[in-house]
């Protein structure tokens, strides 16, 4: 399996190639090189996935961890050293497939979408860098390697959000995304250090082996402020995951990140990077479950709240990409909830399986939704719903694929989202009724806001389109990825996930609980769709009236519950005023003062003695003779 290294090396080489020599290439040359390279990586990941799942991965009913490559990078002590390597296990192989597939689709789509943009080659270079870092993140053999790639992912996300760097809003958004996630990563780093300090290892295999025995025993009986050390470490690590995966209250960067080009949103802010937090929790799942179960409960509740919160906001947004962004937050929260309510072996572990399942299906239909939205934006040159309407007539392919994705995310069988969401709801039902009912409600909201989006774009009232600029279907380069992703969105739900990806790596048979879970969720989803149909399909005045009757609550949701303002207040008035200003004063006056004083004294002293260096050798000799006489006298008489 050593060839799996090529999956990582290819995008990295492409990044170097396009980054260093891209500006000399023609646009389409750079684009095709990037796309071909990504295609190679995708084919290789399919081969790896096939090999792993069907040929060599399974021994004795368990999918084992394979480490085809690993070398020591840094050695701190005999026990504590950092390796760089490739770890293949069910979730990392699944992620390889997801990332390379979505990335390939985005590369292909961008050939059309970014056509003629300034900085086209730079765009492809950063796409390659992002793919490389994301792939490195999922195959990391230890938590430190994951951290390195985690940051690389953050950097490439930063540069892609800020791709239109002449636009101040894009610059602000990229900075916001970087700073918020960096802030979360601070917790992640501290968590890593605590965990590795007590367990003495960074290695995922050692950490999770035998039901996380190492983490449990090494941190037994230690507690800090009423929580065990293990819980602290894992909660801090989760903080990093929450930052990347946009969990409340660290979600504020994701809606703004929509300033980047739309394909970038599809790749980074829908399918791959934002699920890194889910992946992190899944990767360390045994440690969470056995060493810090209280953190897992916390994750479940944070996830539940975030899912509800983001879904409510998504209902009122008018920028189509922002609707999708909040929908992404909500769906990722589903995955988090699912992990939070999961147990370990056999059917208890259905939550873990469902989380990975939803990650897998969500990646395709959400990428499809974003690319579809990109196609619409490409045609209408606006992100606002009010500029769209009746687009089905002009853009049938985009419309139909978007419709399929909406059905998938709403959870209508037999589309993929139904199967994964159903498993999540089933896991929640068996763990905590409250979570189940909230998530069921969120499922209804999801269906409602997605179809609100769909009807507003493709149905509704026809807008006055400029005659010279009638909306038209996007070129084949853009519609082909849409069609491929639509096919994925329809059929990936049929993959028997419990066969391949489970918490304890043993297959189990999952079944759909029609009576208690599936039927209610379908009914709720259909209700949401019907309400959306009634309100938006014909473009009636009712939505405005309802908004009016809701008054303050409506205004609050439109303004995302003023969380941006709350964060602004916290940073500006609390952190800046109360912490940064005094520290700044200390720096300016005490530290700078001491340094300036030292320099001033030195200058004065040297001014006063510089006359001694006259260049008159005779004077020097005089001083020398007198000096040596004095020293001789001192030696002789004292």
């Amino acid at each position: 399996m050593e060839y799996s290294l090529l999956i990582l090396v290819t995008p990295f080489v492409l990044f170097l190639l396009l980054g260093l020599t891209g500006h000399k290439m023609k646009h389409h040359v750079a684009g095709f090189i990037g796309t071909l390279g990504m295609g190679l990586a995708a084919v290789l990941s399919y081969v790896v996935a096939f090999q792993y799942f069907f040929v060599i991965g399974k021994t004795g009913g368990i999918f084992k961890e394979l480490i085809p490559m690993s070398f020591e990078w840094l050695r701190f002590t005999d026990k504590l050293h950092i390796e760089l390597g490739i770890l293949l296990d069910p979730i990392s192989v699944m992620m390889l497939v997801v990332i390379t597939t979505v990335s390939l689709m985005v590369h292909l789509y961008s050939l059309g979408y970014m056509h003629g943009e300034k900085g086209f080659q730079r765009y492809y270079a950063f796409l390659s860098l992002f793919s490389f870092s994301m792939l490195g993140l999922v195959v990391a053999t230890n938590i430190f390697q994951m951290y390195i790639f985690w940051e690389l992912v953050g950097v490439s996300s930063y540069s892609l959000i800020g791709f239109y760097y002449q636009k101040p809003s894009a610059v602000a958004a990229s900075k916001k995304a970087f700073i918020v996630t960096r802030f979360a990563d601070l917790g992640f780093l501290v968590g890593i250090l605590i965990l590795s300090f007590y367990t003495g290892t960074f290695d995922f295999g050692a950490l999770t082996a035998n039901n996380a025995e190492l983490a449990v025993t090494s941190m037994q009986g230690l507690s800090f402020m009423g929580l065990s050390i293990g819980a602290w470490a894992m909660a801090l690590i989760f903080m990093g995951g929450a930052g990347k995966s946009a969990m409340f209250p660290l979600h504020i960067w994701l809606p703004d990140a929509m300033e980047g080009p739309t394909p970038v949103s599809a790749l980074i802010h829908a399918a791959t990077m934002v699920v890194a937090g889910v992946f992190l929790v899944a990767r360390l799942f045994p440690v969470y479950l056995f060493a810090a179960p209280e953190v897992l409960t916390l994750i479940a509740y944070i996830g539940t709240f975030t899912a509800l919160f983001a879904a409510i906001i998504a209902v009122t947004q008018t920028d189509i990409k922002r609707v999708l962004a909040f929908s992404t937050i909500s769906q990722i929260a589903y995955m988090m909830v699912s992990l939070g309510v999961s147990g370990y072996g056999g059917h208890d572990g259905v939550g873990y399986m469902a989380s990975m399942f939803h990650l897998f299906t969500h990646a395709f239909f959400k990428a499809l939704l974003f690319l579809g939205a990109g196609s619409v934006i490409h045609a209408v040159h606006s992100n606002e719903m009010k500029d769209m309407g009746r687009l089905h007539k002009y853009m049938p392919v985009s419309s139909i694929t978007f419709f399929i994705a909406c059905l998938a995310i709403a959870g209508i069988p037999p589309f993929s989202g139904f199967f994964s969401k159903d498993e999540i709801l089933a896991a929640a039902l068996h763990h905590d009724k409250l979570i189940f009912f909230v998530m069921l409600f969120v499922a209804g909201l999801t269906a409602f806001y997605m179809f609100r989006l769909y009807f507003n774009i493709f149905w509704g009232k026809e807008k006055e389109y400029d005659n010279h600029h009638k909306p038209h279907e996007s070129p084949a380069l853009m519609t082909v990825p849409l069609i491929i992703l639509a096919i994925f969105s329809v059929f990936t739900g049929l993959i028997p996930f419990p066969e391949f990806i489970t918490a304890d790596r043993m297959s189990f048979a999952a079944h759909i609980e029609w009576g208690t879970v599936a039927i209610p969720s379908i009914v709720v989803a259909l209700t949401g769709i019907v309400i959306a149909f009634v309100l938006y399909a014909k473009g009636s005045e009712k939505p405005a009236q309802i908004a009016k009757s809701l008054g303050g609550f409506y205004a609050a949701t439109v303004n995302k519950f003023y969380l941006d303002e709350v964060w602004m207040f916290i940073t500006k008035s609390v952190i800046f005023k109360l912490i940064s200003e005094p520290i700044k004063w200390f720096d300016r006056h005490v530290i700078d003062g001491a340094m300036n004083g030292l320099a001033w004294t030195t200058q004065k002293v040297s001014d006063s003695i510089k006359g001694l260096q006259s260049g008159q050798v005779q004077l020097y000799v005089w001083a020398y003779v007198v000096g040596s006489l004095v020293i001789a006298a001192l030696v002789l008489f004292f």
Partner: protein
């Protein structure tokens, strides 16, 4: 036999006369002569200590001979420099040789 101290008194006198001349004279030739006095005082010391303290060995004498040779070479160079300085500046007063001062 003459006592060693007499030789040492002579050499000490020569040494300090030389130092005095080196410090106070402004004429470069005078400074060079003073330097010669200092060097010769040292050479007298070499010879005297060798003669009185280690009569069986000859190292001190050899050092004296070396010293004389080096002094001769050094004098030649110094005079060459002084001649050149005179040609360039028209004076051999050390106070006036400050063209290279920054």
């Amino acid at each position: 036999m003459i006592k060693m101290e007499y030789y040492l008194i002579v050499s000490t006198l020569m040494f300090f006369i030389g130092i005095y001349g080196f410090v106070v004279r402004k004429n470069m030739l005078a400074i060079l002569i003073s330097l010669e006095l200092v060097l010769n005082a040292v050479e007298i010391n070499f010879a005297v200590f060798n003669r009185y303290l280690f009569p069986g060995s000859m190292e001190g004498m050899f050092f004296t001979l070396f010293g004389i040779a080096i002094t001769a070479a050094e004098t030649a160079i110094a005079i060459a420099i002084i001649i050149n300085v005179y040609r360039n500046i028209g004076s051999i007063n050390v106070r006036k040789i400050n063209k290279m001062k920054g």
